[in-house]
Amino acid sequence: MSTKDSDRDDARAAAIEEALGGIGQRISEAEAASEVCECKQGMFALAATRRQLFGGAGLVAAVGMTGVLPRTGAAKAPPGAVEYPVPADSTKEQGRMMGEDGGYGSRSQFESDVRWANPTRTASFAPLQNGYGVITPSGLHYERHHGGIPTIDPARHRLVLHGLVDRPMKYSLADLKRFPTVSRTYFMECSGTTGSEIMKAREPTVQRTHGLVSTSEWTGVPLSTLLRQTGLKPGAAWVLAEGADAAVMTRSVPIDKCLSDALVVFAQNGEAIRPEQGYPMRLFLPGWEGNISIKWLRRLEVSDKPNYTREETSKYTDLVTKTGKARMFTFTMEAKSVITFPSGDMKLPGAGFYEITGLAWSGRGKIARVEVSTDSGKNWSLAALQDPVLPICQTRFRFPWIWDGTPAVIQSRATDETGYSQPTHQQLIEERGPLESGSLFYHMNAIQSWAIARDGSVKNVHPLG
């Protein structure tokens, strides 16, 4: 997109500055309090002043000013890239030899999309606005940690299964890999995604409103296979899953899920899962809120009841302010969609043809249809769905649109195969009650609106004004 090209230097500087800057800096309480969600504490609007400040030549300035991480030789390359001199004519000299990358490739030095980490560094958001297809590159998959990213030597890691079982077992990574495996392409979404948007439009970009969702091909062993090895004693009803991180993160999982589509995965997009995704092994519970798919999985304890851990009582419960009661064990991620182009902070160069595109997904199965409106929801038309449409996987949708140059509001609405359609903000607030500290509003899947102004600029807007 030409709009992206024209902003590239600016965006690149901003991205690197965003990625590196602020580590260890104090943040104001206002910034932190604007985002009190367990999932993404401390979000504040992308600082326009910073962008202007570092625009153009900002790259060097930004790196020089942060001075937090050693960036010596690679100072000019975006994360995940290596900087090489650009020849005047690439056809007039030999290119690099194979193997110069050490045997593991990096992306182009001209590509700079990065995850955006919140100021508290507890979550980072995938750059959905510049994604293609449905697979999230492993290095851009969203992150949410409760005690940082542990470094785990797979040779020393064991998964212990015990509790109400006939034969308690422990498995190494090598043991796990010997079992029959399956590969499935699934989305994963944080229960707090988009919660900040329930009462008003707070975040400027789709990365920051919706970026706690990603899709990967996951490979692992069905948990049912492992539980067949241990056997289950009468009364087995829940399984406590526990991670080997500093939070020793724990959640209780109903046995039915463990015996149906639950996996213990060790690979993501064809290689070992990344450390931030749970290396060497994690639980994966398709269609359920991300935090219950315990990373760095070290223990599974079969029990007759849930444990009521901190992460399923104090956190990750959905307070219904209408009644003062909180919903507990709210596992499923309901149908949701968002337009990723055009989206917040972009600028259309002028009237004319645009292909509106975005992502739709549902924790209950396949996406049945996505409708798009370009007139604030007065009229809706079917978007084309990219094949294959897989269950519990993001589906790319596309919609041809000729913009006449007048202000417009564009929206998408997903319906899954159960017949459930995305609600409006108003419907969600009526159902659960208003919540000013909006990012505590878990499972927020309302229809997203992007407003396009006469000058082509795109802005996040809230339907309730």
Partner: protein, 202 residues
């Protein structure tokens, strides 16, 4: 060589050879199918009591498995001041503006009763947590932030007593141990309901 139409014996030989190969392939496939995937696998190691006790630290809501030891408010106050106050505040109200830490409101431990049915709920141990055992479990596994899992059972009981007393849930004189902790009635014990979704929107 097979272009010699007169060479019938050779042609027959080929047919038989083909038939044999087909039979062998079918037999081999049948064999594979008959063998199938086993349901039990020989790899992995039986987990010993030691393997399990090394990692099985979780305390369920009913307090089963709570360790020996005890602690009270006064001992807990000392633990709190050295291990917890830097983030949670000497007044237990949470410290604002810490680098790379949640907002002060997220670090707040007490207060907030009666706010849950409002659009600005204050969710703390006092106002929101349904089980006192969860407090013990979480502190033992994940706190203090700078040295997770470093508190002894006595210290964990004690600091739990301190927080629960400051939250006006228990009396200052109460000694917490494996017997008394599960008996504590948390104010929001009945504040939770099962997930009613999918929601039906009007």
């Amino acid at each position: 060589m097979c272009t010699r139409s007169a060479d019938r014996p050779a042609s027959h030989q080929r047919i038989w050879l083909l038939a044999t190969i087909v039979l062998l392939v079918v037999a081999a496939q049948t064999g594979i199918h008959a063998q199938g995937y086993p349901t039990r696998f020989e790899f992995g190691t039986p987990a010993t009591e030691q393997d399990i006790s090394a990692v099985a630290i979780a305390i369920p809501a009913d307090g089963a498995g709570l360790p020996a030891g005890s602690g009270d408010y006064m001992k807990g106050k000392a633990v709190y001041e050295t291990q917890c106050a830097a983030c949670h505040g000497t007044d237990l109200m949470g410290v604002a503006g810490l680098p790379n830490m949640p907002a002060g409101t997220q670090l707040r431990l007490i207060g907030g009763r009666g706010t849950l049915a409002s659009k600005n709920p204050v969710m703390t141990v006092e106002s929101y947590w349904p089980h006192a055992t969860t407090l013990f479990d979480y502190i033992r596994r994940a706190m203090p932030f700078a040295a997770p899992g470093s508190l002894s059972a006595d210290e964990t009981y004690a600091v739990s007593a301190y927080i629960l007393t400051e939250a006006q849930i228990i009396d200052k004189s109460m000694v917490l141990d494996a017997k008394t902790l599960p008996l504590i009635e948390m104010p929001n014990r009945n504040g939770f309901v099962p997930d009613p979704r999918p929601e039906i929107f009007k």
